[in-house]
Subunit: 124 residues, 2 copies
DNA sequence: ATATAATATTCCCATATTGGAATATGTCAA
DNA sequence: TTGACATATTCCAATATGGGAATATTATAT
């Protein structure tokens, strides 16, 4: 089996740094393709291809204006990613606290027994 | 050029649903490989391979315990993803508000002119 | 109808993937 | 040392990628 297509979901679509860059640009406002190409310094087909992926997963919308296609951000699918990462928030939120706790535990040992366990901080 | 390797960053590592599942399991506590394989119903080499990717991007840690390797979650790298998606939070937070606003604008037009313009807001 | 501008699509290449099967490595016990 | 358990690695197939170059499509103006 191969890797899941980038058009499968927003997790895969957004794994590509250039597509994140593209979304960042569109967060400033809607834009036609050539504008984007010039702003980012990419060539036009590459822009169209990346926009195609983003379109398939619903991260952008298109509006036809004459011969231009105006692309705009539709960030809703990012909500799923945000929510998924949120379920792990507690693991990095209290990281510093836990480090502090360990340091304090070592301090207590120093005060009680007068020596420092391996890898620990010295006494005050 | 090919797609970026899954071991490049957490964005790529986490694009695979099975790896998200694995992280979810590890969020309940550290576990040896065979335990994971049994819990998820995967075969052992697959578990080792996915753990290898997660290890390379720093999403898990290993501890050797006899012939077992106990893997544990290290969610810190997910913070970057969380923060990136947060950048777009305002776009989905006020989405319902904006839909409501458009609906109200149409209602106002109906009251004023007695008809509804196609799909959008007309003159004031 | 024709030329031109704006965008999308196709073809190609080098590379990486996931899963399965088989095998290798490492660690303990007797 | 030998055997058994726990885990990692290798080899394979099918598939998908992203970039470049060339080309096709679509829409406008004359």
């Amino acid at each position: 089996m191969a890797r899941a297509p980038t058009t499968l979901d927003s997790f895969n679509a957004v794994a590509e740094p250039r597509r994140r860059q593209l979304l960042g640009l569109l967060s400033e406002g809607e834009r036609p393709v050539n504008d984007i190409a010039e702003s980012l310094g990419w060539n036009q087909p590459q822009v169209s291809k990346h926009l195609g992926v983003l379109l398939e997963v619903g991260l952008v919308k298109v509006r036809h204006a004459g011969r231009q296609r105006i692309y705009s951000l539709d960030a809703a699918p990012l909500k799923e990613i945000h929510q998924w990462t949120s379920t792990f928030e507690r693991f990095w939120e209290h990281q510093l606290d836990r480090i502090k706790e360990r340091a304090e535990a070592r301090q207590a040992l120093v005060r009680n027994r007068g020596n420092v366990p391996p890898g620990g901080a010295g006494e005050s």
